[in-house]
């Protein structure tokens, strides 16, 4: 065992608020990658890379054998990258943070092997299925990851991908209809100016929430609910989170000046 990991339950104080959570130290490699100590079903610790860009967690065959993850699996003669499919791990522990029933893919990822060669044994990647369950805070200065209880229930990424590939929306020949749950009462047009795309208010319905909030035809929508609104798609994304009755901060560009408005979304259709 390379070193002993002490898991601390600490409080981190951010500006103006306190976040409680389990603080997990990480080691920073010279390449800028972070590694954490992970136990699977009480076995280990093993060194894995923590990766917010990984949609799945990966462990190599060495770890999988060592932790007894492949006990009920038949021996496979041909498996590219030693790929053995997905295994559900009953107890997946990163530092002091335990999670149950986490899926990992068993494979000998070539990049992980390369890291192993240079930095000592590294046996996999901790990805989305683990960290998505928490409000995770990454602090490179204190070299800690803090896992606070979260309410997000991560979907099964592999299943979701299969579904997406089979559904019309996933194939991209049919656009996804976004609702924006409130009526605001304006229309827009897209324009390109100096090579930049922008969105201009075309009409504002008389007596509607947009008019009451001070929106004018010709206004360039710059920000809605702090999101950039340069295209219709941007606007839809920004409106998607707006609920009826909610007030939304809007920044428009009007005659060369930034004007801040507040629009209220009304219930309706």
């Amino acid at each position: 065992m390379a070193y002993l990991i002490v898991a601390l339950a600490t409080c981190l104080f951010g500006p103006g608020e306190a976040e409680a959570g389990v603080a997990v130290p990480f080691k920073l490699l010279t390449t800028g990658h972070m590694t954490v100590q992970v136990k699977l079903n009480g076995k280990g610790p093993y060194t894995l890379i923590f990766d917010t860009g990984a949609p799945m967690s990966i462990v190599n065959n060495r770890l999988a054998r060592d932790a007894g993850l492949l006990k009920d699996r038949p021996v496979v003669l041909f498996a590219p990258f030693g790929s053995r499919g997905e295994v559900k791990v009953k107890e997946f522990e990163v530092g002091g943070q335990k999670a149950s029933d986490i899926k990992v893919a068993v494979m000998d990822h070539p990049t992980v092997e390369l890291f192993s060669k240079h930095f000592g044994p590294i046996d996999g990647i901790v990805g989305f299925p683990f960290f998505a369950r928490y409000a995770v805070t990454i602090d490179y200065q204190s070299k800690t990851l803090t896992f606070a209880p979260g309410t997000y229930n991560p979907p099964d990424v592999m299943q979701a991908m299969m579904r997406a590939m089979l559904s019309p929306e996933g194939r991209g020949d049919k656009p996804k209809v976004l609702s924006g749950g409130a009526v605001i009462g304006f229309t827009v047009r897209e324009e390109t100016r100096d090579g930049s795309r922008l969105l201009l208010v075309e009409t504002v319905a008389k007596g509607g929430p947009a008019e009451q909030g001070g929106l004018l035809p010709g206004d360039r929508l710059a920000l809605l609910n702090k999101r950039w609104t340069d295209t219709r798609a941007d606007l839809l994304d920004a409106l998607e989170a707006i609920r009826p009755g909610q007030k939304v901060p809007v920044v428009v560009e009007r005659s060369g000046k930034a004007v801040m408005l507040e629009l209220a979304g009304a219930p309706g259709i």
Partner: protein, 280 residues
């Protein structure tokens, strides 16, 4: 005034109001289909470009096409300095440097970029390390707080006794961990989107059901003769008892779709068919 100048002004005004280097910024993001955290950034006022927030990447990466659009020139080692690098939400990263690398570093990501949102790059260690970042996927924003330190590197593996292949290995380790797995992870980041069609009816819930509070002037409901005080009974053939149920009936209908409505006006039944219009 050009749009970028406006945003730059806004950003500087916001930053000036806070003690330098301490302000927490809420950064909006989207989860792509393969569950990558996608954030948007403007480089030198151009864009926005789509980036994956990736602790498995050692640095900021963007494609040659992005570098060309933003006017970023790479030095002989492949690093390009951005004059401004601004994340959506108003976070301006001072003196951001990135690797300009299309064919090699982003090859895995290209598999995900077909249609929908194209992935233009990765935000990795050399940017991320300058912030304390909280990701809570139940919220649509991350929280980024600038830290009071300057992180090293990334330095690669040349000092690790890597032997003769250290140069090439170093390059490979400089890519994303997920490089090469793009094909496994789906072909498309986010589907294209379109707005639902609008009727222009503002509703309020009463005991008897949803009642028309107002009709937007010039919108389909006005053309259909609907008036404030009318009670909405059925939407597309289905009885509704609340405004939210009415919305539920139409939320997947695009502009141009014909929408039958049944209303009650002082005890008389009114049947109307509206053509949903584009609007918000």
């Amino acid at each position: 005034m050009r749009p970028l100048t406006l945003l730059a002004l806004l950003a500087s005004a916001v930053i000036a109001a806070e003690p330098a280097g301490k302000k927490t910024v809420e950064v909006p993001y989207k989860l792509t289909q393969p569950k990558h955290i996608l954030v948007r950034a403007k480089i030198n006022g151009k864009g926005p470009f789509n980036f994956i927030m990736d602790t498995g990447a050692p640095a900021l990466f963007f494609t040659e096409a992005v570098a060309a659009k933003a006017g970023v020139k790479a030095d002989e080692k492949g690093w390009g300095a951005c004059e401004t690098f601004e994340l959506e939400g108003g976070l301006v990263v001072p003196s951001a440097k990135g690797r300009v690398d299309t064919p090699f570093q982003l090859e895995g990501m290209n598999g995900m970029g077909i249609g929908g949102a194209e992935i233009h790059g990765l935000i990795g260690y050399n940017i991320l390390a300058r912030y304390r970042i909280t990701i809570d996927l139940s919220s649509d924003r991350m929280r980024w707080t600038p830290l009071d330190w300057k992180p090293d590197g990334p330095m690669g593996v040349r000092n690790q006794g890597g032997g003769s292949d250290a140069g090439q290995t170093s390059l490979e380790l400089m890519g994303s961990m997920m490089k090469g797995l793009g094909g496994l992870l789906g072909r498309k980041a986010t589907p294209t989107v379109t707005a639902r069609g609008q009727a222009g009816l503002v509703l309020r819930d009463e005991t008897a059901g949803p009642v028309v509070a107002s009709v937007l002037k010039g919108w389909p409901a006005e053309a259909g003769g609907i008036k404030p005080g009318d009670r909405l009974v059925m939407v597309d053939g289905k009885t509704v008892t609340k405004a939210s149920e009415a919305l539920g009936q139409v939320e997947k209908m695009e502009a141009g779709r014909k929408l039958p409505l049944s209303l009650d006006r002082e005890g008389k039944r009114l049947e109307v068919v509206l053509e949903l219009a584009e609007g918000y």
